[in-house]
Amino acid sequence: MKPDRATAELEKFLAVRGEALLRTATLLAGEAGSGEDLLQAALERLLRHWRSIEGSPEGYLRRTMYHLAADGWRRQAAWRRPLRLLQAANRAPAPDRMAEVDLRDAMLGLLRQLPARQRAAIVARYWEQLTEAEAAQALGCSVGTVKSATSRGLARLRELSESWNDEPRGVKEATRS
């Protein structure tokens, strides 16, 4: 299949399944911008192997995204990009008071603090609702690794979310690191 035709096929596929894939990619990457980059990286790989893929490309895309994410994907840009806001375009800061924490940011902020493999395991188990065996297949690791990564990830999230209670209500700021 010629690249142009492959791209057209892919655009049709994304029109139907793109949103679901992007939601997973965003959770795996930790923020919306990086999620788009992650999905695009998976699309690139898909196009390079387009001829050899049979049937729907969704399975290949999902596996690729998980592999990239679990391997500590180089594009996760953990230092600078966390500062990008995910707020809606028309949402102005509240005057004369601290704005409340955007829950969207809050959850992604928590996930971002997990190591890549733990985050991928959490997303596979609690977002995609995969079994441990399915998650292991998606991540390219053993069931035992999925169990331990999930357990440690949950423990860390619990610890992080508890520490929030000690901070001033509604105030979350970003460090340079």
């Binding site: 919306a32 390079r48 500062l83 102005a92 008071r97 609690y126 105030v171």
Partner: protein, 321 residues
């Protein structure tokens, strides 16, 4: 307890991603990039061979990220080649890692910034002209585990001096706060979690949470991360501080202006970076931009002297925040 966090996760992940839309043209961009990568790989292989034969620093030419084309006496390089050379120059074990880096940063618009153990905290929002933590420019020095940043407000007055020394689990942070003539020093994060200062003006826009448990990374690692995080194209040459620098521009960024890195073509060390710290209000919203000029100096007694944070006479020591 586990059940609570699982429920929170499910609901939170749903909320966090609800309404996301695939950007138009993502598939086309992926296709274009896949083709470009394939072509660049071929060209880089050829360019690498040519460079070994020449045994000299590469000359970069061309105004495109497309594969190089050969002509004249100059060696035309692809962006992939330039990026790989910059990555090598900045690598922790490169010969150039033994240089002292000096940086001059300008922030537009100003934001709130305050020192904390092992890091500084940044808050964006209405700049708050009366904020004691308003920071407009910074001067910095780095050498291995040593780091110093001096922050200035729009009037050019020093706001704070921040020094980090030592690596590993417990680096020592020293900070001087000029406003109230105080200073503090602490090893590691200190006995208690740091208190977040109110760094902004009347309103703070929430940004997300950085990792408070790790020291701020060295600038060379920040640049390496940026290089790994984006695709770049070569956008010609520009004079930066007397260097005819190669300009690398990030492709596909959502910011009003793309991030860019200017590189010395002789050493492949960055001489300037331009990046977006944050966007508020989407693509057409407000952007906080950061421009940093770098100099790379030999570790002489004079250059190393800048790495320490001098405590002004008469200043009072206070507990770390």
């Amino acid at each position: 307890m586990t059940g609570d966090i699982e429920q929170l996760l499910r609901e939170g992940m749903d909320r966090a991603t609800r309404g996301l839309r695939v950007p138009e043209g993502l598939a086309r961009e992926a296709a274009r990039r896949a083709r470009q990568r394939q072509q660049a790989t071929r060209a880089v292989t050829a360019a690498g061979t040519a460079t070994v034969m020449a045994g000299t620093a590469a000359v970069v030419a061309g105004v495109t990220g497309a594969p190089g084309h050969h002509g004249g006496t100059g060696q035309v390089q692809t962006v992939a080649y330039v990026v790989s050379r910059v990555e090598r120059a900045l690598a922790p074990h490169s010969s150039q890692s033994r240089l002292v880096s000096r940086m001059q940063a300008r922030y537009s618009p100003a934001f709130g910034e305050a020192p904390l153990p092992e890091s500084t905290v940044i808050a964006l929002g209405p700049p708050g002209s009366n904020s004691p933590w308003q920071v407009s420019t910074e001067a910095g020095w780095e050498y291995h585990g040593l780091r110093r940043q001096t922050a200035f407000n729009r009037a050019g007055q020093p706001v704070f001096d921040f020094g980090l020394s030592g690596t590993g689990r417990a680096p020592v942070t020293t900070a001087v706060i000029y406003r109230d003539r105080t200073w503090w020093r602490v090893r590691g994060m200190g006995p208690t979690p740091p208190k977040m200062p109110h760094t902004g003006g009347t309103a703070i826009t929430i940004l997300g949470i950085g990792n408070m448990r790790h020291p701020a990374p060295p600038w060379r690692l920040v640049i390496l991360k940026d290089l790994a995080s984006h695709r770049f194209r070569i956008a010609g040459h520009q004079q930066v501080d007397g260097v005819n620098a190669v300009k690398l521009v990030a492709v596909g960024k959502t910011a009003p202006e793309p991030d860019a890195i200017w590189v010395n073509p002789a050493t492949f060390l960055p001489v300037r970076t331009l990046s977006t710290l944050a966007l508020i209000g989407g693509r057409h919203g407000r952007a906080w931009r950061e421009q940093i000029d770098f100099q790379w100096l030999k570790p002489t007694r004079a250059s190393l002297a800048h790495l320490g944070v001098p405590i002004p006479v008469g200043y009072t020591r206070v507990p770390a925040p």
